[in-house]
């Protein structure tokens, strides 16, 4: 069996890419959760 290769990187360039990629999906999702929770509050009023 071939030896496993390890090449994970936590360089600054990768950190920026990770921030951008997670923001790209995280911001719309956070907005959706906020809108839903704002509506769900009515259940307990």
């Amino acid at each position: 069996m071939a030896e496993a290769k390890h090449h994970e990187d936590v360089s600054d360039a990768n950190a920026v890419k990770l921030f951008l990629a997670w923001s790209f999906v995280g911001i719309p999702l956070a907005w959706g959760i906020y809108k839903t929770l704002a509506n769900a509050v009515l259940l307990f009023q």
Binding site: K5, D9, V41
Partner: protein
């Protein structure tokens, strides 16, 4: 049969090929979950399609339905057709997807799903319902199926140490997509609406273009690991656990094993129970607590369930990495039986808080069932054909999509016709759902490793 080499494209589409998506040294695997989320957050819109139903019954009458306007019963078929084609596309394209890789699959899904909206916009503009069935139902449904399974194998390969968490993150997006789509669609329709126009066609066009762009971004970001790659510090267990194989089973061979059908039933029964009560959550809450849960509060309750549906996907799939897949499903079934049976009791005691809490846990396990199944399949059949096998298993979802609502609606109407009060009509339904979960428990209990005669031999694997 076409090989991977034959599946390579030519010309401008060359960069979509699997060979062009192999990660270079230094690539962070944590970029792959957002790539998967780009797709799943978009296709999760299907759960919010009902926001278009009412406006589409007023395309001619504008303020109220005109005689030539579409009926709600006709519009209900759009969602049903989309879910059927989701299952069919997942089942029939899984093997192709394994061959061509995630980028080409994600682009195909983007073109189908976004294109489905654009075709539907034309259908709305011409007021031809069959074009909407074809657009969102058939073409969009194929995009749903291809998009749903496209990142699964890639994520499992990148995260051999935490496959449940990785696939849970992506499939969480499918649960969360409706949270974005619902308010976004309503807002867009408000922007495009005029005194003579409801704005559905324009909303479809904008959504189609947004989703196409978002899903293609996922395809741009996604990478597959280089052969032999493993996460830093990861050592494959020398003695695999009893229900975690280190062998591979071909997709065609998997269909000849009892394990496939046991897992099919496990998923189908978990989803049947969940989908049945999910569809009735709003009406059930108002009828069990008349005067205390209003229609507006009930819509807030449904929103809360969407959040638990989404969060449960990540929580339960991640938990399964620590307690095992079979044990996770044991929790779904045993805890599910107790909670389904206890929901009528919350109505009798008048406890809204307990009713909401029980319902939230039930729905979290419904979502968790979807998110845990890819890792369960990987444990039982190996990683190599997990995408294709997962695609075929999703026919259980299509079946549950029919069984669940039909069962719940039929039982409820039967009871009301026989003089049972509306508030009590749900009790039998919940007990029957608990019974279905008990059958699921038995199926899960019977799960055992695949016989070695189904394993791919080493020579075949190399080929």
């Amino acid at each position: 049969m076409a090989t991977a080499a034959q599946a390579e494209s030519e010309g401008i589409f060359h960069w979509l090929d699997r060979s062009h998506t192999v990660a270079k040294p230094g690539f962070s695997r944590w970029l792959v979950p957002p790539a998967a989320l780009c797709v799943h957050l978009c296709i999760g819109q299907v759960y919010a399609f009902s926001v278009f139903n009412l406006p589409m019954t007023k395309l001619i009458g504008i303020t109220q339905s005109a005689p030539d306007d579409w009926k709600l019963t006709e519009l209900g078929w759009i969602f049903s057709i989309a879910i059927v084609f989701l299952g069919l596309a997942a089942a029939f394209t899984g093997t192709w997807l394994d061959r061509v890789g995630p980028r080409k699959a994600m682009f195909t899904a983007a073109l189908c799903f976004g294109g489905g909206f654009l075709i539907s916009a034309l259908g709305v503009h011409l007021h031809q319902l069959w074009i909407v069935y074809l657009g969102y139902g058939v073409v969009g449904g194929c995009g749903l199926g291809i998009g749903y399974i496209s990142p699964v194998k890639t994520l499992i390969t990148w995260f051999p140490d935490r496959p449940g968490m990785a696939t849970g993150m992506a499939i969480m997006g499918f649960g969360g997509g409706a949270l974005i789509a619902s308010p976004l669609s309503v807002w867009l329709m408000q922007q495009f609406a005029t005194p003579t126009h409801v704005g559905v066609a324009e909303t479809f066009i904008v959504l189609g273009l947004i989703y196409m762009f978002f899903m293609m971004m996922g395809g741009v970001i996604v990478r597959v690991p280089a052969p032999g790659w493993a996460p830093k510090g990861y050592v494959a267990p020398k003695q695999p656990k009893k229900l975690v194989t280190d062998q591979e089973v071909h997709v065609d061979q998997a269909l000849r094993t009892p394990q496939f059908y046991l897992l099919w039933l496990v998923l189908c029964l978990n989803v049947t129970a969940g989908i049945g009560v999910l569809g009735q959550a709003s009406a059930m809450s108002q009828e069990m607590f008349p005067g205390r849960i209003t229609a507006i509060a009930a819509s807030g309750f449904v929103g809360l369930l969407s959040i638990f549906n989404m969060a449960g996907r990540f929580f339960w799939a991640s938990t399964s990495d620590y307690i095992g897949r079979r044990n996770t499903y044991m929790v779904f079934f045993l805890l599910g039986i107790a909670l389904y049976a206890a929901v009528p009791w919350t109505g009798h005691t008048g406890s809204v808080v307990l009713f909401v809490a029980f319902y939230c846990v039930i729905i979290s396990m419904y979502g968790g069932g979807f998110a845990t199944i890819p890792a369960y399949l990987k444990d039982i059949f190996g990683t190599r054909y997990v995408g294709a096998i997962h695609g075929r298993l999703l026919t259980a979802w299509s079946a549950a999509g029919v069984f669940g609502p039909v069962l719940v609606n039929y039982i409820r109407e039967y009871q009301i016709d026989h003089g049972v009060a509306k508030a009590d009509a749900y009790s039998i339904t919940m007990y029957i759902m608990a019974g279905l979960l008990f059958i699921g428990f038995i199926c899960n209990f019977l799960m055992h490793p695949v016989h070695e005669r189904h394993h791919i031999k080493n020579e075949e694997a190399k080929a």
